[in-house]
């Protein structure tokens, strides 16, 4: 009986190990507001499933709830990787409703948006601590990457021992500086792209398959 139990246990472990690489990984797309997270999530979802994840906007905090696109199967080099893409609200340490007023939004709506934004940031932090298997950290390559929020967020990801890729987005902009992003986080691989224009998406998918497959 003991021998049988041991044998069954060994077979079970071997089977789990054999298929461990085929489990769906939940990949969180993180970054500051307006880095292009939703544009990237939509690009990935549209390329592989035909559907979008959520609306894109130049107004900060357009994404105020984490949105998930499940079972996105990415095929690279004869293999396939299945991920759940989690588009998260932009992380910040401050939200002021008056910033929404600058985008021609009425005060009542601005107050509601700011309240939802704060809840969204808290939700994003919660997902990061408990519910994601890997992180794509998206930065606007035309903006200074040396901000405290970026440093803190990448530090939090590292403390969770999660695999992370840095995406230097918006390389279609003249002011984009990919090297500056790479210099900010030299311990991680930086992938340049334009989610809006679809530039360098082949490398993006190669890296997603390599890091999260």
């Amino acid at each position: 009986m003991g021998l049988l139990t041991t044998l069954k246990s060994s077979v079970s472990r071997a089977t789990s190990s054999l298929f461990a690489g085929e489990e769906t990984k939940r990949i969180g797309i993180y970054g500051p507001p307006n880095a292009g997270k939703t544009t990237l999530a939509n690009r990935i979802a549209r390329d592989w499933t035909g559907d979008a994840v959520g609306p894109e906007s130049h107004v900060p905090h357009e994404t105020r709830r984490a949105r998930r696109k499940e079972n996105v199967e990415i095929k690279r080099n004869g293999k396939s990787v299945t991920i759940d893409v989690v588009d998260t609200p932009g992380v910040t340490t401050k939200v002021d409703y008056t910033e929404f007023l600058e985008h021609d939004i009425e005060k009542e709506d601005a107050v509601r948006r700011s309240r939802e934004a704060t809840e969204g940031v808290a939700e994003a932090m919660h997902w990061l601590r408990e519910d994601v298997d890997g992180v794509i950290y998206v930065l606007d390559a035309a903006e200074d990457p040396f901000t405290q929020v970026n440093t803190m967020l990448v530090g939090i990801v590292e403390s969770q021992d999660l695999p992370v890729l840095i995406f230097a987005n918006k390389i279609d902009l003249e002011e984009a500086n990919v090297q500056r992003v790479a210099n900010a986080f030299p311990q991680h691989e930086t992938v340049p792209l334009s989610a809006l224009e679809g530039e360098n998406m082949d490398e993006v998918y190669d890296k997603i398959a390599e890091y999260f497959g």
């Binding site: 340490t93 309240r115 040396f146 590292e158 021992d161």
Partner: protein, 161 residues
């Protein structure tokens, strides 16, 4: 390690006898003024310098409360040693829950960048690196603005608004 905390020693208040106006200017961080003011009597700005020693035995929420209570009072909180990543995550979460459209708009936080960019992660920690041990400045978002920051200097503008 010498304690650099400002005004957290009850014995220090003995000096109040020699300077009757002192108590109003220098309230302890744990004792916000009862009059609802921002911790200053003349529009000045209060700095709470909290030593590593004071934070050492505290739980995460105790640290966060100490920081945010100071910030809510309009003070600039300076930590001799920064927070751990998980504590920073909780600080962001709690800060978000306390933002109020009619008042508190959140925090501005600055810590020196540098070593953590190259020494973070599991390997860095295994090699003995400790990213958290960096002086950290935290203040109300509507009163503190970072003018310049590099690996050796944090320059901030603090307003009295």
């Amino acid at each position: 390690m010498p304690e650099i905390t400002a005004n957290d020693d009850p014995d220090d208040r003995a000096l109040d006898d020699a300077d009757p106006g002192r108590e109003d200017r220098d309230p302890a961080p744990d004792d916000p003024p009862e009059d609802g003011s921002d911790g200053t009597d003349d529009g000045g700005i209060q700095l709470d310098m909290i030593s590593a020693e004071r934070m050492e035995g505290m739980r995460t929420m105790e640290k966060i409360r100490l920081i945010l209570d100071g910030v809510h009072d309009g003070n600039i909180v300076i930590l001799e040693e920064g927070l751990e990543p998980d504590e920073e995550s909780k600080l962001i979460e709690v800060t978000m829950s306390e933002i109020n459209p009619d008042g508190f708009t959140g925090i501005e936080i600055e810590t020196y960048p540098g070593e953590q960019s190259g020494g973070g992660g599991l390997l860095g920690r295994l090699m003995g690196g400790n990213d958290a041990n960096k002086l950290t400045v935290i203040g109300p978002a509507n009163r503190i603005e970072t003018l310049h920051k590099d690996e050796t200097l944090i320059s901030t503008l603090v307003t009295r608004t």
